[in-house]
């Protein structure tokens, strides 16, 4: 009774994760304002950057700025939304729900796994909406349907990673408001010192050195290569390596934090 066969333990962990994913998806559905605002911001990003900067920024090879920009905006919008993960968990903590779950016979990682999956589902919605708005203002995929799908998948992978980071932050700072602010802290400088808005070659030399090693640059470059066509394997490999590498560190840290958070 006390020790479960490994196979059964796995099945239960998956079932528990599904219960948690559903719970957090309900949150988005029950708070239409939260979902609405989560969608307004990405749309604003597309419209503002496209119209405000398109005349001022020289793109390499003379491609349309909207085509250059959209892959980076997918990642930027998702990155800004990732703070929700930490806020939600800090909120659970403040309401005593983390204690409740920890005293239940559920799999330990299920709450965080469910939360980050629910946020990925939300991000999928965000990206699809951005593509729609992007198409209206002139954005096009240039490398066929498979690459187009990968163009959307890579930002979602980045979003999944950032959700785990935000989870770790939320469970560390423990206060919903602080969690929101703290989750954005790493995102803002990383996003703006990357190739999201302008080619790295246009930056001052010292900044180029940083920008060329910024993980966001690698993921934006790979997403952009997938959208525009051209050589993709190099950037994609680097991006995937970064994402998997950071996930391998952050997931165990976040789960460890969860186990001890109310000790």
């Amino acid at each position: 009774m006390t020790t479960l066969a490994p196979r059964r333990a796995w099945t239960l962990a998956v079932a528990d994760t599904a219960v948690m994913t559903r719970r957090y998806l309900y949150h988005y559905l029950r708070k239409p304002s939260l979902l609405g605002l989560a969608l307004v911001q990405p749309v604003l990003f597309v419209l503002l950057w496209t119209y405000v900067f398109s005349g001022a920024i020289q793109t390499p090879g003379g491609i349309d700025y909207v085509d250059y920009l959209m892959p980076g905006l997918f990642i930027l919008a998702i990155a800004f939304g990732s703070a929700n993960t930490g806020v939600g968990l800090a909120d659970d903590l403040a309401h005593g729900l983390i204690d409740r779950f920890r005293a239940l016979p559920m799999a330990r990682p299920a709450l965080l796994a469910g939360r980050t999956l629910a946020d990925t589902a939300r991000n999928t919605f965000v990206v699809l909406l951005m593509v729609t708005v992007g198409y209206v203002v002139g954005f096009r995929f240039h490398a066929g349907p498979a690459a187009a799908l990968a163009t959307l998948a890579l930002p979602l992978a980045v979003g999944y990673l950032l959700s785990w980071i935000s989870a770790l932050i939320g469970l560390t700072v423990r206060d919903p408001e602080t969690a929101g602010t703290a989750s954005l802290l790493p995102v803002i400088p990383l996003a703006f010192t990357s190739s999201t808005f302008v080619p790295v070659a246009t930056m001052p030399g010292w900044l180029q050195a940083w920008a060329n090693n910024n993980p966001i640059t690698h993921t934006v470059d790979a997403t952009r290569a997938l959208a525009l066509g051209g050589p993709t394997s190099g950037p994609l490999l680097r991006a995937v390596a970064w994402i998997l590498g950071i996930l391998a560190v952050v997931i165990p840290l976040a789960i460890h934090r969860y186990r001890r958070v109310t000790q």
Partner: protein
């Protein structure tokens, strides 16, 4: 084979920085019985519950719940316990039914079983009508009942209730007591923490009084009350001088020495015979020319327990020592209440 106790804790100690939350606590709850853990804020009540429900590891000592070791077999312990903490830990964005179904799924009940159990508990806690509305539209009392219902989803054999009536109005409190009594009839063993002597008296078959992580008294409610010497006569006089004079006059009525609070002019005496003494007290004070500003007979409080057992009242809570989750104490000196 002897029946194993529902809870058996030996030498539990826990330190948070400089604060010794528990200092070698021993505790036994017999199968199917209710233990009331009584103490002020920061006494170690919540820490005890958190250790026994696997949320916290003790620094030293060991504990078994339903025969299972809380440190070595936490997963097994979680399958047999129910916990209702101090705050109603309910998901406000879900409906009441969804909260219960979620808990059922996490207890790994089958789908049909889960829904049946949810409906049954909603009925029992009189929440059926509101069941499909988001909990954020519910009243505090309803949330409390839902919290309790959630803690019962997995048919626990040992139930932990950490200050179950905190935040409830008197009517809600009496309803809650009613519900808990029904549980007890079903044979569930309960560890209940409270700051109210009356609550422990109403619900528990054994009371343990703790302070600073140590047991300072234990026994049946009857024994504890006998030790307290009955109700309290409380007089308030205009001046400290009048108060000490009044204390001398009423001392012979008391089953213990009168306590005088010089600052407020308040005199408190334990009286075994209840309100019967009132006419005599009034006549006597009147004859002595002492003006009363207030006169009351009340049930003993946690403060009286401490005055009797330790010679001093419960310490005003020190905000830096009290765990953040504790509620402010209900009695005495509102100005020193810690922020909850």
């Amino acid at each position: 084979m002897p029946v194993q106790p529902a809870i058996q804790a030996e030498g539990l100690s826990k330190r948070f920085g400089d604060v010794h939350a528990l200092q070698g606590l021993n505790l036994t709850v017999a199968a199917g019985s209710v233990l009331g853990l009584l103490g002020p804020n920061g006494a170690g009540k919540t820490t005890t519950v958190r250790i026994l429900t696997t949320l916290l590891r003790p620094d030293t000592g060991s504990a078994r719940v339903a025969g299972l070791d809380v440190v070595r077999q936490p997963a097994a312990v979680r399958q047999v316990i129910g916990l209702a903490g101090q705050a109603a830990a309910v998901d406000e964005n879900l409906t009441g039914r969804e909260n219960l179904v979620m808990a059922g799924r996490l207890h790994h009940l089958h789908r049909s079983q889960t829904h049946r159990r949810a409906a049954e508990l909603l009925q029992r806690f009189e929440l059926t009508e509101a069941a499909d509305r988001p909990v954020r539209t519910w009243s505090g009392g309803m949330r409390r009942r839902l919290d309790l219902a959630i803690s019962l989803v997995g048919h626990p054999s040992v139930l932990f209730l950490d200050e179950p009536s905190s935040g409830l109005d008197p009517r809600g409190r009496h309803q809650l007591w009613q519900t808990i009594r029904q549980l007890l009839e079903a044979g569930t063993a309960v560890l209940l923490t409270t700051q109210y002597l009356e609550e422990a008296d109403q619900l528990a078959s054994q009371i343990v009084v703790i302070d600073h992580g140590r047991i300072i008294a234990h026994g049946t409610p009857e024994r504890l009350k006998a030790q307290l010497g009955g109700d309290r006569l409380q007089l308030r006089l205009a001046t400290p001088a009048a108060a000490s004079r009044a204390a001398e006059l009423v001392a012979h009525l008391g089953s213990g020495p009168p306590q005088v609070d010089a600052q407020t002019g308040q005199v408190t005496v334990p009286i075994p015979d209840g309100v019967a003494v009132l006419p005599g007290v009034v006549r006597q004070l009147d004859a002595a020319g002492l003006g009363l500003s207030d006169l009351a007979v009340r049930r003993p409080t946690l403060d009286d327990v401490f005055l009797t057992l330790t010679g001093q009242g419960t310490q005003p809570p020190n905000p830096s020592q009290a765990p953040a989750t504790d509620q402010p104490r209900p009695e005495r000196q509102p100005a020193t209440r810690s922020p909850a």
